[in-house]
Each structure stands twice: as structure tokens, then as C-alpha cells.
């Protein structure tokens, strides 16, 4: 599958498992698992796989990831519809408060015009919705040369950058 990582299009080996019974056998290969499945099969997964990836939805308490946060190479954040903005808060909390340094991947209804906001919140990988042109989506990073606020991208807010008389 192709994803955008650090503003370039790359081929990627990870596949997303949306639904799986907690009692099902562990899938082979590089898989992004639902958090509930990962937690239910935690010990076995830690033994059998080298790299770990989970996905969470907006209603997950960000804090419920903390105990295992160092195990994850990828945390995927679901945007079930464009207007559901909860995962923007997940992203900032994971980056800024919990110092997560692995990959944050946006999944779901991920389109060109959200990428600017997502990137500023600390998301660095984007699985663009299947029916959209991933190359065109790259334009989404280009809109603005500056931002008023600080966020996970370490920007200094404009009110601190202004030269005072």
C-alpha cells in the first residue's frame, strides 16, 4: 500500500486490520491491530512479533495507551468521517504530553484539506482515502507559510515571534 510519510509517497508493508475477534489467531505479517485485540493478546504478541502497531478511534482514552506506548512502532488514529476531530487531540497529547516518538498514522476519511491540520498536530503518516489521488493530496501541505499557534510541530506562536518596539 502507498502512504504519505514525511511529505513523500512511499510503499508500505503495514496492513490495517479493522475488525477482528479478540479470540482470533494472531494475523501474520506487519499488521495494525485494533487496540482491544492488542491488549487482549498482549503477552503473546510481545513474544511473537518484533514491531507493534495499533489503531484507536476517537472515543479511546489516550491515556489507556500509555502503559505500552514504548512498544508501538505505529499508532494509527482513526478519522471515521472528516468532521470527527477527536483524533487531533489524541495526536497532540501523544506527541506533546506523552512524548511518543513513533509513527502517528492518520487512517479513515483522510483527505487533502485536513493534512495541514493533522501535520501540525504531530501526525507524520497519512493513508489517503482509496478513491483519492494520493499525489494530488500532497498539495494539502502547501497552503500556509506561517501559523498563529504553537502545536506539536514546535512552531513558536506568532505572538512570541513579533518584534516589539
Amino acid at each position: 500500500m502507498r502512504v504519505i510519510k514525511n511529505k513523500s509517497i512511499i510503499d508500505d508493508s503495514w496492513s490495517l486490520i479493522r475488525d477482528i475477534e479478540n479470540t482470533a489467531p494472531i494475523p501474520n505479517g506487519d499488521v495494525i491491530l485494533p487496540l482491544a485485540f492488542w491488549q487482549a493478546n498482549r503477552d503473546e504478541l510481545l513474544k511473537s512479533k518484533k514491531e507493534h502497531a495499533v489503531w484507536i478511534d476517537g472515543s479511546t482514552e489516550t491515556e489507556s495507551l500509555l502503559i505500552d506506548i514504548e512498544s508501538f512502532a505505529i499508532i494509527a488514529l482513526d478519522f471515521p468521517v472528516f468532521k470527527d476531530g477527536r483524533s487531533y487531540s489524541h495526536a497532540r497529547l501523544l506527541r506533546e504530553r506523552y512524548k511518543y516518538e513513533g509513527e502517528l498514522r492518520a487512517i479513515g476519511d483522510v483527505l487533502q484539506d485536513q493534512l495541514f491540520f493533522m501535520e501540525r498536530c504531530g501526525i507524520d503518516c497519512f493513508q489517503i482515502r482509496d478513491d483519492k489521488d494520493i499525489k494530488q493530496a500532497l498539495e494539502g501541505f502547501k497552503g500556509f507559510s506561517t501559523s498563529y499557534q504553537a502545536a506539536a510541530d514546535d512552531a513558536i506562536p506568532i505572538f512570541k515571534r513579533r518584534k516589539f518596539k
Binding site: G85, Q114, F117, P157, F159
Partner: protein
């Protein structure tokens, strides 16, 4: 007033190009209706009954004459020669073509204006006191803080897809003219026991179909924590506000569900983690914002000009106007002039291109080129020398802008209603017309005195009917327009939500019923009592009886 620097201008210019590209992709079929909707909404563009409606932001209601002239130009070039000033101190254009909207935005950008976040589920225009900077009862000018909030909230990456829209108001005076109690966040500048000025923070007020008065979650917030504290509120709301039901998605529902105390605790916990971070304001940051809101150079001889009181004695029309349409300025010899956009023949809040150009010229002549949009859908020239009032009045009168009705029955608040808005269940403008036709006797209106009629064409409550002394809500009953009346609402310091009078009434009856309510008031009022005061003293029963018993 605030002046853009390179950063502000770059953001607004880049936004124009971004929206131009989004519009192009939509017209080319690369974006579906559903995909374009949140993009256009974040830019104040609604698809309405006749055409798109574009809402332009007027931060905290403050305009320069240059900006007002641009609004006149836009109404002339892209619309039908008029604009509608809204209860949120913005302006709406009802007839622009979609493909011209990027050009309108480009024109606006040349005068430091935009339509960013004037709709959609994001942080909207921060509103304030229409008499900020000139009111005698002001502790501190709230506008520098509005501007700090405006910048922080513009394209906020975390809070651009909230459960629902989010409105913040800041009041800096004893009298609350910003309706802060009915905002998602209401901030009051206050002085604590140590003499230090900060904010009292209210959260979860709002109108719409489930109206609430705001709840206090912090009685004193130091100024340096303004942004970190509201970021904490927004983060709790963004994470935990309901998204399953559009009617339960405002922060007021969350605050009510978890409780005022528990909500306040969650905010405090979140705030502790961020308060000393990059959002903390230093004194120089506040001073910078304040440097744009200094007083103009007043003429200290203005008070010596006696022509004003002479003219009042000799001209009754001028005297009537001066008694209703002026507001006392903190500098003696100066007055704030309220320009009524409620002439009897006009839809409340509408101004033509010619009127806008004229008001811009008059503000250059008489009021340091400043104009303010009020929550009551009028305009204010904030600093007029008393010696200039008579000439100003004459000039306004020529433009049908000198109706002496500020605060009176015909100074109604009115949404666009069924005539323009695709959400409306019933008309508002025809009701305003009906009221104007019935109550055309100025002496009667002056005798009735201060009364606020507020009217919305649907439950979304754009006309703030819940907080009208008399509220009028349009409802649809099997395809017919009916009107639900409420009594006793207020959006000021004594904020209250109106009580339902009884069953909704037919469209043709609205003005007659108002007449019956006023008859009760005239019969029962005590000396100097306003309609609202009488209502609060005697209760709803006598009013109910007079309206329904005779039917």
C-alpha cells in the same frame, strides 16, 4: 484598531488562494458536495434558498471607514446592493455567486478582512461590548483580549473539527453588553481583592433549541493564563463533547451532563499540564495587543460647545433622536451615536451600499473613521463631538438612517428567516414589517419605552428570541407559519430565558398579540418600570389571560 502585520496578511492572502483552489476543485467535480461542505462552511459560505450566503467576519464588531467602503463595494459588485448586519457583529451577503466568492475574499484581504471561521464547527468570531473603549462603566477595554483570542483560534489545528460551533464573548464593563452569559465561553474582566485585573470564566451558555445560561467555572483567572485556560476548555470539549447527535453537541450539553463542578475539575486538570507552556502570555504580549486600542486624540474644548442643547430645544425631531440614539461617552463633550438600521420600511439590520458609503464618509468627518456593529444589528459612530451632532443627524436623516427608535419596540432583532435562510420554518422579516405597520405612532413607542423584541425563524435562535423581553419564534405547523411567544428573557447581567406564553399564534395575529401584551403592561406598570420589570414583578398570568381569554 488592530493593524495586520506581515504574518496576519500572509495568512489571510494564503487563505484566499486556498479557498480559490478548493472552489475550483469543487466546480471541476474533484470534490463532492459532502466533501466541499465543511470547507465552504469554515469560510462562512452557506448554500441558501436563492443563492449562497457569505458571512464576513467583523472581529468584535469594529470597522474602519475603509473597510465599510469595501463592504459597500462588495454588496454593489457581487450582490444586490445591500448587506445584512447580524447579531454576532458580522455582515452577511445573500446573493453572491459561488464562483465569485474567491474574488470577494481577495477584495476583503486588501482591507484586512476575511470570512475565516464565520461558520462551521470551529471557533467563531469573538464578540464583545459595542461600547468597548468608550463606556463609563468599563474596567478595561476587552478588545485586546478578543484580538489575542482571534489569533489563537484562527486555523487552530486541533480545534477546527469540534463537535459543534463555538462562540466566545468578552465583556470588560459593569454592564454586560456582550451577552457573555449565553456564549460557549463568556469572559468578564474583573478586579480581585488584591486589585489585580483578570477574568471570571463562564462556560456552557447558549441559545438554540436547548437554551442555558453559562456556569461559572473559575472566578478569577490571571491574564497570563487566558489562552492556556481556554485551550484546556476546548480540549476537554473536543475529546468528550457528544458527536452522535447534532442537537446535543454544543458544550452546554456536556457541561450539563457531567455537571458544572466536574467539568470545571476536568478543565483544571488539563490546564495544569499546559499552563506554564508556550501559551502563557507575557506582559509585553498583552501590551502589544493593547497598543492597537488606544484612545484617539480628543478635543478638550468639545464640552464648551453649547449648540447641541440649543438645537435640542429648538428642534423636536432632533431632540427625540438625541434622547434615544445617543450613548454617553466617557469623555465629556463627546457622545456615541447609534445609527438605527431599523427604519420602518427596511428589514432589520440591512444597509444599502449607498448607506454604507455614506456612513463611512460620516465616520471620517465626525468619528475618527471608526464604526462599530452592535448585537442589536445597528451601527455606532463611537466618538462624536456634541457640537457635531446636529449636522450629523441631518446627514443621517437624508439617508433614512435617523429613526429615533433605539431600544424601543421597533428596534427589533430579526434573523433573515424564511425569506433567505434554508433552515427557517417561518418568516421573520414579514413579522417585523407587520409590527412596524401596527406600531407607527412614535409617541406611543416612546411611552412604552425600553423593550427588546427578538425574533428567530427557527429553533437555531439566530435572532436570540430566548433572551428577548418579548421573544418570537417561528414554527411550522403542518405547512403553516405559526409563532411561539416568550416573555421575560434578558441577555444582560440579569440574564434570564423567556417563559413560554402559551400556544403558538397565527401569523396574522402577531402584532395584535404584542398590542395586547403592551396593554397589560400599560395597565399594571409602576413608575419608571420597563416592560421587563413589570413582567418580573407580576408574572405571566395577567399577560396570558389578556391574550388567550378573549379568544
Amino acid at each position: 484598531m488592530y493593524k495586520y502585520d506581515n504574518y496576519d496578511q500572509a495568512i489571510v492572502d494564503e487563505r484566499v488562494e486556498q479557498f480559490r483552489d478548493q472552489t475550483r476543485r469543487y466546480i471541476a467535480g474533484e470534490l463532492s458536495d459532502d466533501e466541499f461542505r465543511p470547507l465552504r462552511l469554515m469560510n462562512g459560505l452557506y448554500i441558501q434558498t436563492h443563492a449562497p450566503m457569505l458571512r464576513v467576519a467583523i472581529p468584535y464588531g469594529l470597522l474602519s471607514s475603509k473597510q465599510l467602503r469595501m463592504l459597500a463595494h462588495i454588496s454593489r459588485k457581487y450582490d444586490k446592493g445591500f448587506g445584512h448586519f447580524s447579531t454576532r457583529q458580522n455582515i452577511q451577503f445573500n446573493w453572491p455567486a459561488l464562483e465569485t466568492v474567491p474574488d470577494i475574499l481577495a477584495d476583503l484581504a486588501t482591507v484586512e478582512m476575511h470570512a475565516i471561521q464565520t461558520s462551521g464547527n470551529c471557533i467563531r468570531n469573538t464578540t464583545s461590548d459595542q461600547f468597548a473603549g468608550i463606556a463609563k462603566d468599563e474596567l478595561e477595554d476587552p478588545r485586546p483580549y478578543c484580538e489575542i483570542i482571534r489569533q489563537w483560534s484562527t486555523f487552530h489545528p486541533e480545534f477546527s473539527f469540534l463537535p459543534r460551533k463555538f462562540k466566545i464573548a468578552v465583556s470588560g464593563a459593569e454592564g454586560d453588553r456582550a451577552a457573555a452569559m449565553v456564549h460557549d465561553i463568556g469572559l468578564y474582566l474583573v478586579k480581585n481583592d488584591e486589585g489585580e485585573v483578570g477574568f471570571t470564566v463562564y462556560v456552557g451558555g447558549g441559545l438554540g433549541r436547548t437554551p442555558y445560561i453559562g456556569k461559572c467555572i473559575r472566578s478569577f483567572l490571571e491574564k497570563k493564563y487566558l489562552l492556556s485556560y481556554i485551550e484546556a476548555i476546548l480540549r476537554v470539549y473536543n475529546r468528550f463533547g457528544r458527536r452522535d447527535n447534532i442537537y446535543k453537541a454544543r458544550i452546554k450539553i456536556l457541561v450539563n451532563d457531567v455537571g458544572q463542578e466536574e467539568f470545571g475539575k476536568q478543565v483544571e486538570v488539563e490546564w495544569k499540564s499546559i499552563k506554564e507552556g508556550v501559551l502563557k502570555l507575557e506582559q509585553k504580549d498583552i501590551d502589544y495587543a493593547k497598543s492597537f486600542f488606544t484612545s484617539p486624540t480628543y478635543d478638550n474644548r468639545a464640552v464648551d460647545d453649547n449648540s447641541f442643547s440649543e438645537a435640542k430645544k429648538s428642534n423636536k425631531d432632533f431632540s427625540n433622536w438625541a434622547n434615544r440614539n445617543l450613548y454617553a461617552h466617557k469623555i465629556s463633550g463627546y457622545q456615541a451615536v447609534i445609527i438605527s438600521l431599523k427604519a420602518p420600511s427596511v428589514a432589520p439590520g440591512d444597509a444599502t451600499d449607498v448607506q454604507m458609503d455614506n456612513i463611512a464618509d460620516l465616520s471620517d468627518l465626525y468619528s475618527f473613521s471608526e464604526i462599530i456593529v452592535t448585537h442589536d444589528q445597528n451601527l455606532v459612530l463611537p466618538h462624536v463631538k456634541q457640537g457635531d451632532l446636529f449636522s450629523l443627524w441631518q446627514a443621517l436623516d437624508k439617508q433614512n438612517l435617523a429613526t429615533s427608535n433605539i431600544g424601543l419596540l421597533t428596534d427589533m432583532i430579526c434573523c433573515p428567516g424564511l425569506d433567505f435562510c434554508s433552515l427557517a420554518n417561518a418568516g421573520s422579516i414579514p413579522i417585523a414589517k407587520q409590527i412596524n405597520e401596527k406600531f407607527d405612532d412614535m409617541d406611543y413607542l416612546h411611552d412604552i419605552g425600553d423593550i427588546k423584541i427578538k425574533m428567530s425563524g427557527c429553533m437555531n435562535a439566530c435572532g436570540h428570541h430566548h433572551v428577548g423581553h418579548i421573544g418570537i419564534l417561528g414554527v411550522d405547523k403542518k405547512g403553516e407559519e405559526f409563532y411561539q411567544l416568550t416573555l421575560g428573557g434578558s441577555s444582560e447581567n440579569d440574564a434570564s430565558l423567556g417563559d413560554r406564553l402559551g400556544p403558538a399564534i397565527a401569523k396574522t395575529e402577531v402584532a395584535n398579540v404584542i398590542g395586547k401584551l403592551l396593554d397589560v403592561y400599560v395597565r399594571l406598570r409602576e413608575e419608571n418600570e420597563r416592560f421587563l420589570d413589570t413582567y418580573r414583578r407580576v408574572g405571566i398570568d395577567p399577560f396570558k389571560e389578556n391574550v388567550y381569554a378573549s379568544n
